[in-house]
Structure formats: structure tokens, C-alpha cells
Point group: C2
């Protein structure tokens, strides 16, 4: 129904708002312009056609990524583009067996990369002790994420689909070995890229009401419980429409953060980062 | 010279590529389309006119932000919109005295927010031990950053300027008090938003050659030293053009990560996060 939602139809924004929030209408003063429609039309794609992604599109994705902000211009991120089917298969296994990593022709591993500055320091015998702090690791995570999201926006505007793969953190050391990462380099997440399979279209997932995430002047969670209750209902309706098991969002989320056993092995992330050369002081 | 670079001029992409890389030309097959031009035209704006940001634009920014991917749909982020001039002044002081936080009419503090799930767990007496792991904090950082970058893309497409403020991490506890943040909630970075001052236009900052950040199949840093040397030259030329002190990028970056003394107080981030209720197991 919303397959042309990012197009130029006059009703685009209203339909996108309805799909994203399932309540209320788009603010009157908001221009129905292409950028907002593009961003609001995002859906995670988990079914792809095999057609390769043109080389020039990868160049454009990296240019978009590099045009994002980077803390102090440190540029402490890198990306590995994986096309080899066998390597994608091994990465799929490491990420919990996600079939779309095998299926999508291009897989991008987005890296926190402090190794470049470490190498520059070695060459010049310059101290780089600042790399050992949690702060610098955090800068790398933020840099890599800003870059990746710019790439995602560009790729989706090209008619391609993407999905982020947090499962790369299930086995960080094995992923690092597979990708030949040096010390102080870690794949923070992956991204499948390809042409969406038109026979298995993805849907726009509803999100929490704006009132829950947007605070004015100071944090205020009054009314949050009721708003989340309404969202649970909207999300259940979405699940039913998609032919998925009906469940309340809050129940699923609470199970997801119940304890270390629900973290898919990522409860040992700190140990893994230590093994990869991040001291996180 | 590039003030209309995000516009529809046919030479747009070529000019943007030249400004961003200062070497080579845009790949032939790459379509000169609006999204790529918008993203490549990003520049951090540090001089603003006082005109307020319309309310509907904030609604749009939050809708764009919420439309970004979020790990497992956890949505563990929030944003505080600060317009009060005195509060912006105090935040400017806490962030190292950055004048543009006082000047821009809107300041967005982007939060890692695990407190919402903690509250949901309390109401239902459900365990939320998973919130105490580094992994879940990392999910919050990634979620907040994906959201913020979508907001940035939308705001810039509206003709507004933005700049990220990592200085919010100089004094995380004081920032949390100023914004009334609950436990397990931290401002990972801020963002100034406003109409760019046309008398003090910002420039597109050159970035590392693509060969340095993009790896094929496996990580490969062969040729990196030479490429960084060329970039040092391009960055020095940029600095001169901007009337700024001439210095090589590598020298500045190495000073920035030399040791704890170069981290603007953020060498104690781990202690601060502990005080804010993040166990980071």
C-alpha cells in the first residue's frame, strides 16, 4: 500500500505519518517534502533479489558516509564491503544465522577504527594513550553510526533496501578474524544492501508516540505509561496485519532486557572488546 | 561558492565531490540526485541568526529521527529540546564555553535512555538486569545516533544548520542535573539547530580519501600512509583558505589522542556513567 510512499504523491506525508504513528495526523505546518518522505519511508528489508549493487553506488554510499559529522574530524571509523558469497555465509552464521546476509549481494561491516590513529602514532613515535579510554571508543561508535546512517539514506533513495545487523556483536572476535581487522578495530554493526524482493515487501514499523521520546526543556515522563499502553495496541495491530504472532511491545522488550541470557552472547561484549585491544579505561 | 550546492544545478555533485575530497572526480555512473547532494553538502554551522525554529520543524525532525532503525525496536533513546536562553547558556558553559549553543535558538540533547525500560520493568515487577551490560548501553548510543543523524538530514534539507556537540560529555552528571535526567539516562551529544548566519558561511570540510576508510572483503591498510600524507596537504590548504592556522591533520589528531589530558575531562567518562546508573558490565 505504501510502496510509492517515498514518491511525489501529494498524500505521501499523511500516509507515512499514519503508518509510522497510527494516531493523529502530520502537523499542518510541515512541508510535504522529499527528504522527510524519504526518511519516514524507511523500512528494514530482509528479502532481496540477487542483482548486484553497482560499484558507483558503493562510491556514493561512502561519499555520503564521509560527509556526515565526525567528532573533531577524527574520522575513527572504517567500513568493509563484503560481496563474496562464502564470506557472507560465514558472517551470517556468526550473526545468528540471519538468511538475508546470505541473500543480499552486498554486506557492509561498519567499524569503530582506532587502529589508524594507533598506526599513525607508531610511525611518528607519538603517544596515543587517549585511545585506551571509553570516551574514544564511544567517539568511534558515534562516528561509525553517523556515517552508516548517511549511507543508508543514500542507498534507500537509490531504491535499494537495507537492514542493520546488530548480530555482528554476537561473536566480535570471530568477526574480526573473518574481516582481518587489526587491534583496536571492531565491527559495531553490519548492514545488508540490495534490491528489495518485490514479492516480499517490507512494512513501515510503528514507533512510540512522539510525546514519549521528545522532552521540552527538561526530561518529563508524566503520561508515559498511558502512551506506551496505546503503542502496545498499535504494535499488536501491526503484528496481526503482518501475519506475525500477536504480542505487546512492552512484553517483548522486557524479555529482551531481562538478563544476560537474553543478550545473544553479547553479555560478554566487554571481554570481547578487551581481547580486541580496547582498554575502555 | 557552494551555497547552492544542495540545489538542482547540474554541476552540483561534481563541485561537492571536489570540495569533499579535493582529488579525483565523482564516479561516472553516480546519479547527480538530490539525496546525495544534500548529504554531501553537509557542513557544521557555528554561526546562527536568532530566528526561532518553527514548532512543526521540530515535529518533523522527531518523526525523521523515529523513522531511523532501532535495534530490536527497543527505541532506547530520547531527546530533550532546549529553547530557554538561560538553560542554553548553562549548557554552553558545561560544554566548554561554545558560543553557538547560546546563539542557536534550539538545542537538542540526544539521550541514551535505558530509564524507560527500567520504569516499565518496575511497574510490572519484571527483571531488567540486561540494562546493566555494556551491550545495552551501546545499543542506546547507536539508537540515539541513528535518530540524530536522520533529524540532521531533515533539518539541513529545510535550510537549517546544525552542529553536533560532543562537549556535553565533558560534564555528564551536571548536564544530567540541568536536564532533569533520571538514572540510566545520559546525554551522548548535543546538536545546535538554527538558521545559518549568511554573513559567516560554513565550508565543506575535506575528508580522508575513500581508499583509507573503505576496505574490500577484508581490512587492508596498504597505501594508507601515502594517502594520509596527501590528505594532510588538502586539509592544510583548506585551513589556509579559511584563514585558520595551518597545520597537518595528522598532527592535530595525534595531539587529540595523546593521553587523558587531551580528552577535555572525558577521561573520567566511565566514572560518570557509573554515577548515572550505567553498570556497563
Amino acid at each position: 500500500m505504501l510502496s510509492d510512499a517515498a514518491g511525489s504523491g501529494a498524500a505521501g506525508l499523511a500516509a507515512l505519518w499514519a503508518a509510522r504513528y497510527r494516531a493523529g495526523t502530520a502537523p499542518g505546518g510541515l512541508p510535504d517534502e522529499a527528504m522527510l518522505r524519504h526518511l519516514m519511508a524507511h523500512r528494514s528489508v530482509r528479502a532481496y533479489r540477487p542483482d548486484p549493487v553497482p560499484e558507483s553506488v558503493l562510491d556514493g554510499a561512502v561519499a555520503a558516509a564521509q560527509s556526515a559529522s565526525t567528532s573533531s574530524n577524527l574520522q575513527v571509523w572504517s567500513v568493509v564491503a563484503v560481496e563474496d558469497a562464502e564470506r557472507r555465509g560465514r558472517l551470517a552464521d556468526l550473526a545468528g544465522g540471519q538468511a538475508h546476509i546470505r541473500q543480499a549481494p552486498l554486506f557492509l561491516a561498519w567499524l569503530v577504527d582506532l587502529s589508524r590513529l594507533a598506526r599513525m602514532g607508531e610511525v611518528r613515535a607519538h603517544a596515543t594513550e587517549g585511545l585506551d579510554y571509553l570516551e574514544t571508543f564511544l567517539v568511534g561508535v558515534v562516528d561509525a553510526t553517523l556515517a552508516a546512517q548517511n549511507a543508508a539514506a543514500f542507498l534507500e533513495a537509490q531504491g535499494l533496501g537495507i537492514v542493520y545487523i546488530g548480530g555482528l556483536r554476537n561473536h566480535p572476535e570471530q568477526v574480526a578474524r573473518e574481516l582481518g581487522l587489526p587491534d583496536r578495530c571492531m565491527a559495531v554493526f553490519g548492514m545488508c544492501v540490495g534490491h528489495p524482493d518485490p514479492d516480499r515487501p517490507a512494512a513501515i514499523k510503528p514507533r512510540l508516540p512522539q510525546s514519549v521520546v521528545l522532552h521540552r526543556e527538561r526530561y518529563d515522563c508524566a503520561g508515559e505509561g498511558e502512551a506506551i499502553g496505546r503503542y502496545d495496541g498499535a504494535d499488536e495491530a501491526f503484528q496481526r496485519e503482518q501475519g506475525l504472532a500477536s504480542r505487546a511491545w512492552s512484553d517483548v522488550m522486557l524479555r529482551r532486557v531481562a538478563g544476560p541470557q537474553s543478550l545473544s552472547g553479547r553479555d560478554r561484549l566487554r571481554e570481547a572488546l578487551d581481547a580486541l585491544g580496547f582498554a575502555l579505561r
